[in-house]
């Protein structure tokens, strides 16, 4: 006999609310409140990603939302599926005492604590200055990112894991 179980999904929203557009991930977390199934874990993180990597173990899928360096246009949303793409590494420019998301995921994969499926939503920022308000174009991307995350969560949960009993 075989049973099916919904896959465990973790949503991680990253950012610093005091650094302008860097807070976009945390705004998405607020927007997602009440929109996700109750068995989906959501974590808002503005501190140390290293100490939380152990908490990724046991999840089948993870969706990360973070601000990205300016590239083309503020507020532009980039969706990266790590099944088909890689995040650039060694991009943590200011500190050796903190890992960037790409390095953290690489380390978690080596340590076998990384979820099998990982999606990244990166919102292009315009400015990361301390104490400045969020750029309107970046703030305007919050609703769309949240909607995409809701759809991805539903899809990721539907990838049914068959458990032999």
């Amino acid at each position: 006999m075989k049973q099916t179980a919904r896959r465990k999904v973790l949503v991680v929203c990253l950012g610093n609310p005091d650094r302008g557009d860097d807070g976009v991930g945390l705004l998405v977390a607020k927007k997602l409140a009440g929109l996700l199934p109750t068995d989906v874990a959501i974590a808002s993180l503005s501190g140390d990603i290293l100490s939380l990597m152990a908490d990724w173990a046991g999840f089948d899928a993870m969706i990360c939302i973070d601000a990205a360096a300016p590239l083309t246009a503020p507020g532009r949303i980039h969706r990266v599926d790590l099944a088909t793409s890689e995040l650039p590494r060694n991009l943590s420019p200011g500190s050796s005492h903190a890992l960037g998301l790409g390095d953290a995921i690489a380390l978690a994969r080596v340590l076998q604590t990384a979820p099998r499926d990982i999606m990244i939503y990166a919102v292009e920022a315009a400015a990361f200055d301390s104490g400045t308000p969020m750029t309107p174009e970046v703030a305007a991307a919050v609703d769309e990112v949240a909607a995409c995350v809701v759809a991805d969560v539903e899809r990721l949960q539907q990838i049914v894991a068959k458990l032999a009993t």
Partner: protein, 429 residues
């Protein structure tokens, strides 16, 4: 005259930005200059005109890895200026949050930044392929240290719950009992980490350092004590400038601190351990001896073992404090501003961090001065580099570069704190 240059444009696994120039003549390293080009951050200037109560939150921003050190130095200096003493459980809680910082800072450096040097890996991610258990161990220790800081400081980076006189809020027993369970496992993890690093192969290198650290009558030092050295310095914290001076050097945006009329000195784990071995519990002393350490260690490469010893100590000390904890009636004792000057000095993970503030009658900061550990260690780092590089001059530039980088990481330097890192150039003539 032939000149050869080896350049390291960026030193990995340290905090901040700098470069290193080695000047070689007649087969000898003449000078080693650590060129710190991180922009000055002007914290002392921006503290002027601010209220005394704002200082702990401002100085916490100096460093993301050791904010507690800056907060503790500041609150002790403020209290020193107004004649307030904080004792009992509030004093114990300050020691407890500092244990959290030692655990997270040392665990990060030992596992993620320093261990790859000894095992021949470019970074901790590559090292994790073969030593995953120890990387998990280090990450678990860091998480436990962060947890202590979060409970007592309100958040794990740049905590916001420290104030002159104590805290804005003190934890309930149940909050600390929860982290105590994690600390018991952390102690086991720390002992495992200590035994692992003790198996590393260390370069044969020793220097006759002048060790400088705090010394307390009863405790392994964290927040209090007299400033002592192994060369007869034994002074009150307020008298720091009677024995030490900071100097501008052309090649660094960070000041260099020296002992007056003598020169370089060493702060940090090696100094703290050598001057306070007798203040460690017998259980921790026994673990240190089993790891191959005597009561004094002069090999800077073995500082990784001393850091691991200090992680064990911090875990045990945190458990002791929690076991004795009873929530105090008030989260802080009253601190009323008055005109005056106050001094504070505590043992940051990287060594003593000295503060001096002048206040107006209403508590406004008239002047501030902060001497971080990495500034104090810079002359010693440069002296180490001369000693380490000289026997290697017949070897390839890559070998010299690698060993010099490892030597600098012996110090776990925080350039961001000191001004604040590494390009290496070897000039051979």
């Amino acid at each position: 005259m032939a000149t050869k240059t080896i350049r390291v444009d960026f030193l990995a696994r340290i905090e901040g930005e700098a470069a290193l120039d080695l000047h070689v003549a007649d087969g000898q390293v003449v000078t080693a200059q650590l060129n710190i080009f991180e922009p000055p951050r002007f914290f002392e200037a921006l503290l002027r005109g601010r209220g005394y109560a704002e200082i702990p939150d401002i100085v916490a921003r100096i460093c993301g890895i050791c904010p507690v050190a800056y907060q503790m130095g500041a609150v002790h200096a403020i209290e020193n200026a107004v004649g307030v003493a904080v004792g009992g459980q509030l004093r114990a809680l300050r020691r407890l949050i500092y244990c959290g910082e030692w655990i997270e800072s040392h665990a990060l450096h030992v596992v993620m930044l320093h261990a790859p040097d000894f095992l021949g890996y470019p970074d901790a991610i590559a090292m994790a392929c073969d030593h995953g258990d120890m990387v998990r161990n280090g990450l678990a220790l860091k998480k436990t240290g962060n947890e202590l800081i979060r409970i007592l400081g309100g958040r794990e980076i740049h905590p916001v719950n420290v104030k002159p006189g104590g805290f804005y809020r003190v934890p309930q027993r149940a909050e600390l009992e929860q982290v105590a369970e994690n600390l018991k496992q952390a102690t086991e993890n720390a002992i495992g980490l200590l035994r692992w690093v003790a198996t590393f192969r260390f370069p044969e290198f020793e220097r006759d350092y002048e060790f400088v650290a705090l010394r307390h009558p009863d405790e392994y030092p964290l927040n209090e004590g007299r400033i002592v050295s192994n060369r007869d310095i034994d002074i009150a914290i307020a008298d720091y400038t009677s024995q030490f001076e900071e100097r501008h050097v052309a090649h660094s945006t960070a000041l260099h601190a020296v002992v007056k009329r003598r020169g370089a000195y060493l702060v940090g784990p090696l100094a703290r351990y050598a001057l306070n071995f007798d203040r460690l519990p017998a259980s921790v002393q026994a673990l240190a001896v089993a790891a191959g350490l005597g009561p004094v260690c002069r090999n800077p490469f073995r500082s990784i073992i001393v850091r691991a010893v200090e992680i064990v100590y911090a875990c045990e000390e945190a458990l002791r404090i929690i076991a004795d904890y009873e929530p105090p009636d008030a989260a802080a004792v009253p601190v009323e501003p008055s005109a005056g000057t106050g001094f504070g000095c505590t043992e940051a993970p990287r060594g003593i961090c000295w503060h001096r503030y002048e206040f107006d009658a209403d508590g406004t900061v008239r002047a501030a001065r902060i001497v971080p550990p990495t500034s104090q260690n810079q002359p010693s780092i440069e002296a180490d580099l001369v000693g380490v590089a000289t026997p290697l001059l017949d070897q390839s530039d890559d070998v010299i570069r690698s060993r010099c980088e490892q030597s600098i990481r012996n110090y776990d330097p925080c350039i961001s704190c000191s001004a604040h890192f590494l390009k290496l150039a070897v000039h051979r003539s």
